[in-house]
Symmetry: C2
Amino acid sequence: MADISSLDLSQVKRELIQANWDCSIRGLIHGATRAAELAYCLKTTKDTDGDIPKISQLDFQQEHDVYMLAKSYFDLKEYLRAVHFLKQSEFTSSVTYFLYMYARYLADEKRRSYNMTDSFTSMGASVINDDLARIKVLKTELSTKHRKKELDGFCLYLYGVVLKKLDLLKEATNVLLEAVHQEPLHWGAWQELNTLIPDKETLLSLSLPNHWIKHLFLAHMYSELQHTDEALKIYQKFVDNGFANCTYIQAQIAIAHDNSRSFDQAVEVFMKLRDIDPYRLENMDIFSNILFVKENRMELAYLAHNVCEIDKYI
Amino acid sequence: MADISSLDLSQVKRELIQANWDCSIRGLIHGATRAAELAYCLKTTKDTDGDIPKISQLDFQQEHDVYMLAKSYFDLKEYLRAVHFLKQSEFTSSVTYFLYMYARYLADEKRRSYNMTDSFTSMGASVINDDLARIKVLKTELSTKHRKKELDGFCLYLYGVVLKKLDLLKEATNVLLEAVHQEPLHWGAWQELNTLIPDKETLLSLSLPNHWIKHLFLAHMYSELQHTDEALKIYQKFVDNGFANCTYIQAQIAIAHDNSRSFDQAVEVFMKLRDIDPYRLENMDIFSNILFVKENRMELAYLAHNVCEIDKYI
């Protein structure tokens, strides 16, 4: 089993940098961020020459023009415009195909949230059916490609997300498992998977890739399923092996303490986290709940003030 | 004078692709989009080998880690978080320095718009002074670097924007002129410049870089200053030299016709534009004004319906 303590951290870092890049060019901002956070804390001693990923020329050669234009519109959140130009592409690159399908998915999501906010009271069956019809179209296209084994790890992730939306939870689980096998360093796929696992028995029955990141997923699941000791043991191993200052792992340790009601320890870790990542909003809701339970009014007031201040800049 | 008809379009395209990349890594989405739109329509016959820009290893070597993390937070619009990590950097790369200053600028802008919306009625002098103080800090830092000639074309652009905010219009004009000399293909700098030029006399007195893109700027200015014929002549030259399907240029032609009250011609070009870029919202306000003036109720209703539909997906 690929254990973090037995690995070459320069290699781990190189792979994380590549994952950041792979997510970033596909508009997967959260996946890119997680990979960046994990890579950032690793201070490898080796020369970092060659660490910086290159755009795969082969991949993009034929479709770089349309990719460049569509990604610009995508970044401006003009998803339909991105889709319009991408659909004229031949999809010789898996990146343009992913961007095409992902932009369609995000456009549909925007449309759905518009329908929900704008006409909540009067939202008739026809509107709900339209939303459903759109996501079913995506599902049909992705499942055809899936049968032909034409989906890469990122498209498998998207297919899993679509299946989840349609409440096809067993299929979603299987497809997301395929996704993490093909792209283990895309954290988004693990994250989608974790909400589909109700108990430890199911967790242990899954065939997970033999990759160091699996342990971060297991730790996350153990923490959520109240097996805190097991979770903390894994996180400690990461801390001991180069990830001591990783904000993601520190936050997860704090959350695990919270899940096991070790509030004092949780507060301690959250305070440390605040030192290294003072403008973080992620997980601060949990910190604030703990401070409330502990009746730590001073810290709560300080946190609340900080969060409100940060929010003014976002 | 660098005239588009005398240039190698493969080279022009290569430079535009590089400009798209340079803007994109700095979070300048609009600049990246304009370069992409100009590049996209150029169908060069030459082999495009080598067209795809590479991340400059030299530039990033030392600071790729912090860049990667900060850019992720930047893309999530968590500007203060990006700033926090970037400020620990030594800024050996002009890219990280730009991102650091730009994230600070955008954070300040967010704060300012928060102050304006949240407490419009009660906004006291102290709040306005705070906003002003923050932008002055940026100005001071940038002007020190400027004196030492340490600002690249993108930082000069940002410095120009900051000077404009402080109503230092003469200084802003000079700095933006430096910016377009250093980075002529960053359209954002031209765009900032164009609002600073009140008349043709001022326009002709400026020392502009001898670069083909200058002509697009001149055309834009001529159009705004009601010298429509001169504007259209320039745009036509671009159309005749490879840019026939460029959405930006088609839109500019339509706007020039509108400026000279040639409404029928404007409508015609807008209709053509709609065919190639059906999900465009940019400039559709102008199209709708023309249709209103022309009392073209059918088209107006169609346009209004389309715009509302597109808006649901954004």
